[in-house]
């Protein structure tokens, strides 16, 4: 049901671009105004969200330790899983952000007969997520060729590496296919695994559908509709140089692509996609396990009502004396002495 809501939203968005470009001929609006608006929303929204998080304080040092602490000389510390210095923290964050360390750990639990729980490795999510994110990144970077003249060498290198198998004319980029495969996998596991389906919201399906539209229209443009990329580059160069002009003959499918890219950018800061920024900010991971070495300051630490030793001794002085425990004050002895 939640998938359906997301799907309907994507269909409506498709109709918007279909009516706007296909029927009403609003090329400038969809080729210039919307992309600019999307980028502005993205940048402002992203900064706004990061500042929002940064404004919240980190009162306590609460790393989740996933390995041995640094303590005694003869016990080996695991600096990547329980870092004791900044190098360790950077390593731990890098492992997570570049290689999805935690998902690599993933297991699947099953109850076997005879009251037995067994755990098998489950690397599918890890592999699928890696393929999806890395290919998306490469595809994103590759698009830089539309925005720069001359095209920088590393982009050309990346491009030829990406098309290394030389399949088809023009060559199929591995990452283009991988992105579509990755996003499809992420969608399928969401609907196939009962628990994941149960927790999925429209906001979980929506970006997947949008990315499918982007990747699908991109592949169609390259391999089937053969959009004239000279025109595309003209539009792109116009946009980045703030002198936008909309060339003729870009074709409807290009506008579909551009529109859904804009939708993704505009939607990004207001959604779970902000995990891109948030992953850096989890206090459970980005702090070193140096708790007892260096005092962490809580900016809003305030005085609280405690039960002081004086109050405690006042309350229990008689029983303490009887038990032969040392006392700080002996005053209740006085009446006894008077006797």
């Amino acid at each position: 049901m939640n998938a359906l809501y997301a799907f309907i939203t994507v269909v409506i968005l498709y109709l918007v671009v279909y009516l706007g470009v296909g029927r009403m001929g609003l090329e400038t609006f969809f080729g210039v105004v919307i992309p600019y608006a999307a980028i502005v929303l993205f940048l402002l929204g992203f900064v706004f969200r990061i500042f929002g998080w940064a404004r919240s304080t980190v009162p306590f040092r609460i790393p989740t330790t996933s390995g041995q602490q640094k303590s005694l000389s003869f016990i080996k510390n695991n600096n990547l899983e329980s870092p004791h210095n900044t190098v360790g923290v950077i390593g731990r964050m890098a492992l997570e952000i570049l290689f999805f360390r935690s998902l690599f750990r993933n297991t699947k639990a099953e109850v076997k007969d005879n009251e037995r729980l067994v755990y098998g490795p489950d690397k599918w999510l890890w592999a699928g997520a890696l393929v999806f994110h890395w290919s998306f990144l490469v595809v994103f970077v590759r698009h830089y060729r539309f925005f720069a003249e001359p095209v920088p060498g590393f982009i050309l290198g990346l491009q030829s590496l990406d098309g290394i198998f030389q399949i088809g004319v023009p060559v199929v980029y591995l990452t283009g296919a991988a992105l579509l495969a990755g996003v499809t996998f992420l969608f399928l596991r969401r609907v196939v695994i009962p628990q994941v389906r149960y927790i999925s919201l429209p906001a979980d399906y929506f970006p997947l559908f949008v990315i499918m539209m982007i990747a699908g229209s991109g592949l169609l443009m390259r391999h089937f509709y053969k959009v004239d990329i000279v025109n595309v580059k003209e539009l792109a160069m116009g946009l980045v140089s703030f002198a936008p002009s909309v060339p003729e003959g870009l074709g409807f499918i290009f506008y579909v692509h551009l529109f859904f890219v804009s939708v993704l950018f505009a939607y990004f800061p207001f959604s779970k996609l902000m995990h891109l920024g948030g992953v850096f900010l989890s206090p459970t991971r980005n702090l070193a396990n140096t708790n007892r070495v260096k005092r962490h300051i809580n900016p809003w630490n305030y005085d609280v009502k405690t039960h002081t030793y004086e109050e405690y001794e006042d309350e229990f002085r008689d029983v303490m004396r009887e038990a032969g425990l040392p006392l700080d004050k002996e005053e209740s002895v006085l009446p006894l002495e008077k006797e």
């Binding site: 206090p283 459970t284 809003w300």
Partner: protein
Amino acid sequence: MSDDLAKKEELAKIDFKPPKKDWTDPTIEFRKGSFNYGSNPKNVEYLDLPYAREFDPRKEDWNLPDNWKEIILEGMRDRLMKYRSFRVFMDICVRCGACADKCHFFLGSGDPKNMPVLRAELLRSVYRRDFSTAGKILGKLAGGRELTPQVLKEWFYYFYQCTECRRCSVFCPYCIDTAEITMMARELLHLVGIGIDWITTPAANCFRTGNHLGIQPHGFKDSVDFAVDDLADLTGIRVEAPVNKKGAEILFVVPSADYFADPHYYGFLGYMALFHEIGLDYTFSTYASEGGNFGLFHSSEMMKRLNAKIYAEARRLGVKWIIGGECGHMWRVLHQYMDTMNGPADFLEEPISPITGTKFENAKCTKMVHICEFTADLIHNNKIKLDPRRNDHWTVTFHDSCNTSRAMGLIEEPRYILRQTCNKFHEMPENTIKEQTFCCGSGSGLGTDENLEMRMRGGFPRASAVKYVHDKHGVNLLTCICAIDKATLTPLMEYWVPEVQVGAVHEMVGNALVMEGETRTTDLRSQPYEREEVERDD
């Protein structure tokens, strides 16, 4: 064990298939055995907490204050600013589901709201509706949920079915820690006078008498004297165990169960034997007679209020530094919170072992050392004589407690001690130990009799791993370094793996320790050693 608890064969039939009902429906049934009783209003008042009243979770009307909703939402707003963890964790979950089958309560119950992701969504859905742009506009379509009394009841039910063990955070790509979210939810509930008695009453006791059990100073002294007598009977040696002694070098703080409950007590005897043997100048304190801190399960303010006595007492007694006994959540507080909350401990000295001269660099600021760090260092420097054969009647495995492993990284120290004190030591499967350890199922204040079914369910993954090593290696002793573990793994084992008993790491130390002038033939539980072997080699 309660009679109406289902047979284990029944309980182990777990259905992981989610129900037809959409999760956004908050209706729940307070089923016997799966929830905890409300706080005793007397103790709520004693702690100066708001809206003290009789409260029974099963009753339709919870007598919430008129402006309860305002209070909760205002409380959320406040905490979103105070805790970056809370705000980020509300925003960035992608619901990938990697955490789902990592929670012991989900594995033991199959209830989808026990998946960490969904537990967090119970709160997140309210956050989205009232604090996010999309939710304010789109409401339900953006996954928003209105805060209703029913939602509050659902929070109470499920945030007291989380033991704050942090296992999910190890598997989460964003390290989203459900313990943080549970802590926030419990704080919010306390704002409108909702809490459970098993947390509030120990907290009140601890505030007044210095320990959760409410033992008064003379009672504490009696317990220690009793242990001294016991140890004299067992070993022929009368140790000294000073209490409230000014000018001692070290203050020793243990969880109160250590001197009052079984099997903790054998570990307590172990500490005392060890300290006597190395001639440590230490003191117990009646005022700081509790290392544990149920405030952690209540609110950050309560944690601070209860924790304050440790540094205060160290200052009053004029000790140089502090050692802490075997306890899990106690060490989360000591390691991750104490210095920040009640420090700086600039009146203490950087801890140096008076026996080995080792500087505990890792505790140089907080000035409190874990007993396992202290003992492992003694053993490594050959300062004590050990005869591991005295533990030959035990085939031992080790249960990492959640907090020492995932909130401290104290993983190898206890293992080092066990390998030096026991000949027969076997690890449980790797997915169930160290940073992936499973909770006992009763942590964070949930260890009540009325909650027994949920505890047996939550402890099922741990029990299943123990059963594995019992069947494979004949393990008959589950050692641990946590007072809640010792108290609650005992009935858990009785239920799932009755052949296995529970013990302390320092019980193993106490057994193996060769004391000068001792005359002993039994272990600390008064069970005879397997003597033949020992004598033959002597």
